[in-house]
Symmetry: C2
Subunit: 200 residues, 2 copies
């Protein structure tokens, strides 16, 4: 996250918010996360989120400004949760598993994440700067480190970029909708290509 | 090329055009191709093309409708020339070379192509349908066939998609502009990843 991060800079996550406000914010994000998991992000309105959280619609708008604002905060929180999991969490994602196992788990985990948040990620992906800039740097560093630890040889940057293309939001949605793939088969593809690059 | 191909359906390439018209069209496309190679597509105006071809500006507009129309016709013609080269041309691109050599040559050739036409390819790439649809199918089939002939094992569709991501217009321009890469170093990366997937 660098100086131009629009999510972090939103006023909604100020550390000084009062207890009620912080509680409402957590309630609303939990409700939104649950609804997104059940129906997909496209099908959710601010009314739905307010009703599911048991608060007034005005509270949702005061907290997040707009539907887009809510989805950005949700994406950012989930991104942080995922980063915690693959950097410090339990195996197979976290550091106590062998590097190839971590790489395989990372791909399957990220496919679920990308599918959940594809609407926002797809919009962000249309800006080359955000697509290849700071937002993706943590993942690229992680995948490159795992390829290196798994003793892959050759151009690791190129291998990292080629692998990460299989987790790109527009690509994943196209494969799911137009090509009859599932998160399971896309995870199998990730595993096959990752093993190939690591020589197993 | 399928039913919805906007380039093929343009009236400018009608086989019945009169001799003068066909000659002007060829002159203009040659001039445009030369100018794009010299200065890059972004720097070229319809006036430049008319002057370089030695015809009036009105003729350029009658032939191609607009600057975007001219660039689309040029992209389409170059795409056909490139397809001819990798399907039927001399080695190392064409069928008389070993499959891995053809795959390496394809990547380097395509990098030059993508850089030349990045403006239009980038605009087309923002539409997922065109990006993963008919326009890219010929290349995907070709790369998959070469991986198979080079005795790569595993998920060849996934390997093909991962490899082709290294030739994507936005990615290539980002690497050239922001990452200090050159067409040479990007070609080296293509070679390294392709060899890895083919086990050499």
């Amino acid at each position: 996250m660098n100086a131009a991060d629009p999510v972090r800079d939103l006023p909604v996550s100020a550390p000084h918010e009062r207890g009620d406000a912080a509680r409402n914010r957590a309630l609303l994000l939990d409700a939104a996360r649950r609804l997104v998991a059940e129906r997909g992000a496209d099908a959710i309105t601010m009314d739905d989120v307010a009703a599911a959280a048991g608060v007034g619609k005005g509270t949702v708008f005061r907290r997040f400004g707009s539907r887009a604002g809510l989805m950005m905060v949700l994406l950012d929180e989930d991104e942080r949760i995922m980063q915690q999991a693959f950097m410090f969490g339990p195996p197979p994602l976290g550091p106590d598993a062998p590097p190839l196992d971590r790489l395989l788990a990372f791909g399957r985990d990220r496919l679920r994440f990308v599918h959940t948040h594809h609407e926002l990620l797809s919009a962000a992906g249309r800006e080359p700067a955000s697509r290849y800039g700071a937002a993706a740097a943590v993942q690229r560093t992680h995948v490159r480190m795992l390829l290196n630890s798994a003793h892959s040889t050759g151009d690791l940057d190129g291998q990292t970029d080629a692998l990460l293309a299989l987790l790109e939001a527009d690509y994943v949605e196209y494969q799911l909708i137009e090509r009859g793939q599932t998160l399971q088969t896309l995870g199998d593809t990730w595993e096959s290509v990752a093993r190939k690059l690591c020589g197993r």
